[in-house]
Symmetry: C2
Subunit: 222 residues, 2 copies
Amino acid sequence: MTAARRSGASRERILEAAAEVVSEHGYAGTTIARITERCGLPASSVYWFFEDKDELLAAVVLHHYEGWLERRPQWRPVGPGEDLVAVLDELLRPWFRDLGEATAYLRLGQSLLLEPREHDSAARTRFVALRREGMQVFEEWFATELRRSGAAGERPPEEVAAELARLLVVATDGLVLSHRAGEGLDSDLFLDLLLDTVAEVLQGAADRPAGTAGDRTDRMGR
Amino acid sequence: MTAARRSGASRERILEAAAEVVSEHGYAGTTIARITERCGLPASSVYWFFEDKDELLAAVVLHHYEGWLERRPQWRPVGPGEDLVAVLDELLRPWFRDLGEATAYLRLGQSLLLEPREHDSAARTRFVALRREGMQVFEEWFATELRRSGAAGERPPEEVAAELARLLVVATDGLVLSHRAGEGLDSDLFLDLLLDTVAEVLQGAADRPAGTAGDRTDRMGR
DNA sequence: ACTTCCCTGTAGTGACCGTTCCATGCATAC
DNA sequence: GTATGCATGGAACGGTCACTACAGGGAAGT
């Protein structure tokens, strides 16, 4: 058990068991008892590694986010003759295909989002922060590529990038929920539609003069 | 009897108290104790009118849905010289403006969606059913107007209508969650973007020949 | 061999959960 | 007045929740 101690294998086991329980029983159905049953370790071990249930869930959120960061698409720059939307398609499609089933992470996070703000659990706070961080990954890639290609037209590239990143996040959230409702919404076609919208935003940005652009976009988020 | 029970004012009080508790404390924080505290009636009254907590929540879902049906936008037909998207704008904008705060209904429903399917509570089952029903309200209006105006081009109007209805529902879900995350996503601008997308779908449907249209759209839906 | 420290095992804790029991009101009808 | 049935009041029920007190194991250092 030496190796187990040093490598923190028990902590990992608890973390993974918790994630499995969340994905099987949902947020409300996640109890310490189920987690201990799942990982074979007693509750005292759980409370040895984690201060309380809230901190454990926060750790689950962080754990999954880090996993996503490793497996996330590589944001390669757009080549000279390439279309930005085509590259985006290539980057996002595998991820969208997994959205229906694979992401217990998003399910847990969305449950946390729907909880009241006031009570402000560590898990919820962390998810909101990581969600924002993840969105910035999108945003910066967009901003870089828009700046390079000049596809944003008269509008500030950062502004268009923020808009597009928000659009992506909102769309994925909606897609996950739609899937949970058992509506057979096809991820592939939905991405098609989304990319069409992205193209349309870019088109609009390029066409529109600077003056009128401000009217439509200044309200988009903080 | 059942009819006598359903007409009672106490039943209504319990129902409203439950809705308030849900909107304040979220799904997980909704307990019988809090509901009785809120409405001033004892738990025995709650169990006089409702079989159990699950049935009470199912009744809350139905109650709010019926309220929405009454307050929903009137789906007036599109006039001769009018644009379909412009009318849609007029119909949806007030509703979208309320989405951020007002709809405890959607918050409860989304929490139910994120619960596991197997356990299959009455409340969850009912929300899924009403969600589908509500979506069909959209769908039929779209289908009618598309059939009348011929805006669907070569594609079957029902198919385009289904696609647009799904798009609307997914977008509203995502918008509610985004708002819960505290991202200052502006509902007005988001609706602008959404309507642009609708217009784009219609444009694509009108332009595309029948043969290629099938490739993109057959996957949308069940 | 002895201490040290990390982790596990057992057996709880009180609090709160949904739910139930049953006596009591309180109208209305006889 | 007395009977009838809907609805309330209050006090409990067993169960499960998150969490803890504490003793013990077992590897590592000395």
